[in-house]
Amino acid sequence: MWKFTVRRLLIMIPQIIALSIVIFVLAQMMPGDALSGMIDPNVDPERLEELREKHGWNDPWYVQYADWVGGLMQGDLGQSFRFKMDVTELIGQRIVNSFWLSLATLLFTYLIAIPLGIISGRYNDTLLDQTITGYTYIGFATPLFIFGLVMLWVFGFMLGWFPTSGSVTPGLEAGTFEYFVSKVNHLILPALSMALITTVSTVQYLRNEIIDTKQRDFILTARAKGASESRVYNRHILRNSLLPIAAFFGFEITSLIGGTIFIENIFGYPGMGQLFLESITMRDYTVVTAVTLLFGIASIVGALLSDIILSLVDPRIRIK
């Protein structure tokens, strides 16, 4: 087990190095830079050129890459040109928001997926099951950014149940109970919107898994031994079906990253997804590279996590 984990961790290192080079070069290849968006007759073009020179943006990419990696080794991701602050501090500000949003989304995802999956798997091919599968198909077909907007319009504006933008009501003092409630209140709608869409694959996965397990021989044995129906479902089937879902968890993290980019932009929720998109359009290189690298690492770690969980669940994985 440990050998496997260590080997997987070692493979991660060249993956991350390759990723960093690809990200850096791609970012450099983007046309324009952080200053090209500031063409404005009130700003002297010579000043912009002077700044480009000063920041080393005119150097060849490998020189800039070496500088960047040098900083990275010391835990310095550089300074955001646009925000005029350290990227680490900037990301620190945003990642907290994204963390809570992701956590809430995961929570909702499983809160929805597990009961629906079980019902649908247990009573397969009934009207109830068909309704649930119907929902999952609609979920698959609905683009997240449209669904997010509809949710915002219905629950934010029409019914007015939830705040419509930001992560907290302006003017509240950090640390108070009110502040906390407002934070949670701002989280619910975006998290729920995302969970309702991303949960569908988990629902289907769980449903198929349960239907599959139901027909296994050991279930037949359990029934033959006289175990009650609820015992069969809760102890034998559910346990076996949930394990692969747990393994799916790592990949869930990866899909969350994609989702937060849309959701954070629609709900004006300042997290990593929003930061990512706007730093690309604004060509804030240091932020783009740092955020992409972080996302990349998160995906790699997510996959690793899945592999490890899978290997715990299913010993065959460890065999070479």
């Binding site: 983007m30 046309p31 324009g32 200053l35 090209s36 968006g37 500031m38 063409i39 404005d40 007759p41 009130n42 700003v43 002297d44 073009p45 010579e46 000043r47 912009l48 002077e50 700044l51 000063k54 300074q79 646009r82 925000f83 005029k84 602050m85 350290d86 500000q93 945003r94 907007l149 915002l152 319009w153 934010g156 504006f157 007015g160 419509t164 933008s165 930001g166 992560s167 907290v168 302006p170 003017g171 509240l172 003092e173 932009n265 629609i266 709900f267 004006g268 300042p270 929003q274 930061l275 706007e278 359009t281 604004m282 060509r283």
Partner: protein
């Protein structure tokens, strides 16, 4: 058996859908092709609006209550940067926030000339301007705003380690500034502190432009910033967390990237503000209308004009309107930029070098119809390169070049652009095939149809115009290629916002890198130079020079303006003393509300 037939039915249904979709697509294409012949009919479908029908000052409906709060929606799809100081900020969203708590020392009137109504007065004598800051102007922490603070702002921006974008011609124009910036001098020779509230600045060149926006008028609180190294100022807490100013409101709480709340500054030099509290919060451009309807915001920093027709009768707001200081234009690439000489070098052999070809391309397009069809009249045909937002200098009598396809064809015939191989398209005077590459930016629903409209208009006079790379370009790519004189671009569609200074040199002068057409001529440079000469202090003389220049550009057409724009700003009915635009004489401390809660739409 039953199931099978169901599948069949589904398949049939899908096929029907597919056909319906295909039919829709076909219909669209047809619509586009016919758009010119039926253009008048098309415009009748949507209602037309005119900027003439809007005012830029809010009608006061009732008396303001004592206190109250006001919410300002900062419309932006990106979080604001949080560089909250005039001397360091670069993004427009930050400026929208800073205006609530800090202000320039000088204000300006409708024609953008500095007045003596602001926090300081000025007097121009020879090349020296003497600034006197009013006695009651204090920073939020009670310290007076002094001449030293004002000089300090210049010292910081001119400092070699300053990392903002504000250092430029406004500063190099100060005697001794370039030496100071290069690190050769410790002080700036041209800046003299006379006493606590008086400062003298000597400029190298005094032009009429100096008094329309070319003076840096933002002091920097020395007692706060003097201990911070210049390179670290923009990221310091004094800028990001506890910003300070001398404006009508004081920053209370900042949620990074999201919102800022303000309380009133009782010590404000113009008098105590009406409102108790102001909140500025970022809202996404997709939810502007809903926020306004629900009273979530009282007004917004910008309103997407294309959403106006659907919301013109929103019951709880009044729409204010003003002519935008901006225009859209089509430019022709006519030369190269010589970086070493710092000059534009026109190329007499450029593909678009024949001015009759360019004139014809202007005559070929109908910008009035375009403005009506795509913008419901809220953008309209542009005539000259000085937009009507500068009424003193915009030449109303100059009609530009009107839509006239026959004239266009005639001009092309005269210039020798005729169809020699009978393919319906004109060849160049040497008989070679002529393909003109047109670059335009993506963004918004109308970018694509507008680009197609221009291409079709040119096709109708026999010119083969193609989109560069066959598609629209994203903003950064577009400017990157236009700036670097990419040979794949012959014609491009761009837009400029113009500063409060009317001087066109920064956009169209021979020494400006932003003159993307790379066109200039002796006459162009000489007229532009005359426009900022000593004689130009005489308004009539300057008007005459700029009229001549506008006429020159209509004749030479290195670029032609396509549409002027309107800005519309909706304001909740409960708001009083609010205006948009310049020189209205209405200041933020007078802003008030007539009831506690914002009105909501019925």
């Amino acid at each position: 058996m039953k199931k099978f037939s169901f599948h069949k039915l589904t398949l049939a249904f899908m096929l029907v859908l597919l056909l319906a979709l295909a039919a829709c697509g076909g219909g669209d294409d047809e619509g586009n092709n016919n758009s010119d012949s039926s253009s008048n009919k098309g415009s009748e479908e949507g209602e037309l609006y005119s900027i003439e029908d809007f005012t830029n000052v809010k009608t006061n409906e009732g008396e303001p209550i004592d206190g109250g709060s006001f919410t300002y929606g900062l419309v932006s799809d990106t979080a604001f940067e949080g560089t909250l100081n005039w001397n360091f900020y670069s993004g427009a969203p930050d400026a929208e926030i800073i205006q609530w708590f800090d202000e320039p020392l000088l204000t300006w009137d409708e024609s953008y000339v500095y007045t003596n109504d602001g926090a300081a007065t000025y007097e121009l004598e020879g090349n020296t301007v003497t600034f006197t800051i009013r006695d009651n102007v204090n920073w939020h922490d009670g310290e007076p705003v002094t001449a030293e603070d004002f000089a300090f702002a210049h010292e910081v921006i001119g400092h070699p380690e300053y990392d903002g974008i504000r250092y430029g011609s406004d500063f190099t124009n100060i005697v001794g500034m370039e030496e100071y910036h290069a690190g050769e001098a410790d002080t700036i020779e041209g800046i003299e502190i006379v006493d606590e509230k008086t400062l003298k600045i000597t400029y190298k060149e005094v032009t009429p432009s100096l008094l329309t926006g070319s003076i840096w008028t933002y002091p920097l609180a020395k007692h706060i910033f003097e201990d911070i190294p210049v390179a670290e100022m923009s990221s310091s807490d004094a800028v990001r967390k506890n910003p300070i100013g001398f404006g009508p409101y004081i920053v209370e709480e900042i949620v990074p990237g999201e919102s800022v709340t303000f309380t009133k500054n009782e010590d404000y030099w113009r008098g105590e503000p009406n409102l108790d509290k102001v909140t500025v919060k970022v809202i996404s451009s997709t939810t502007v209308v809903n926020e306004l309807e629900s009273g979530g915001v009282d007004t917004v920093s910008s309103f997407p004009t294309d959403q106006y027709p659907d919301n013109a009768d929103m019951s709880n707001v009044e729409f204010l309107g003003d002519t935008d200081r901006a225009f859209t234009y089509i430019g022709f690439k006519l030369g190269k930029w010589d970086a070493e000489e710092g000059r534009v070098v026109p190329d007499p052999n450029a593909k678009m070098a024949d001015k009759k070809l360019r004139q014809a391309m202007w005559h070929a397009v109908d910008n009035d119809t375009l403005g009506q069809k795509f913008y419901h009249g809220l953008r309209w045909n542009a005539t000259t390169l000085i937009p009507p937002s500068h009424p003193e200098y915009h030449d109303e009598t100059n009609p530009g070049r009107s839509f006239d396809q026959e004239k266009a064809k005639q001009l092309l015939d005269e210039a020798g652009y005729v169809d020699v191989n009978d393919d319906g398209m004109r060849e160049d005077p040497d008989g070679n095939e002529l393909v003109i590459n047109f670059a335009s930016m993506s963004g918004g629903d109308t970018a694509e149809p507008i680009a197609q409209y221009y291409i079709q208009s040119w096709e109708q006079v026999g010119l083969n115009v193609q989109l560069t790379d066959g598609r629209l370009m994203e903003f950064n790519t577009f400017y990157d290629r236009v700036e670097n004189d990419d040979p794949g671009i012959d014609v491009y569609q761009g837009a400029w916002g113009v500063g409060i200074d009317v001087d066109p040199r920064s956009l169209w002068g021979g020494e400006s890198v932003s003159n993307y057409t790379r066109w200039t001529s002796e006459e162009n440079d000489s007229l532009l130079a005359k426009g900022v000469s000593d004689e130009a202090f005489n308004l009539e003389y300057r008007q005459d020079i700029y009229n001549q220049w506008q006429e020159l550009m209509v004749e030479e057409v290195p670029v032609f303006p396509t549409v002027y724009r309107a800005v519309l700003v909706p304001v909740n009915n409960r708001v009083v003393n609010f205006a948009i635009g310049d020189g209205t004489g209405i200041y933020l401390h007078e802003l008030g509300v007539t009831q506690e809660e914002p009105m909501t739409a019925e």
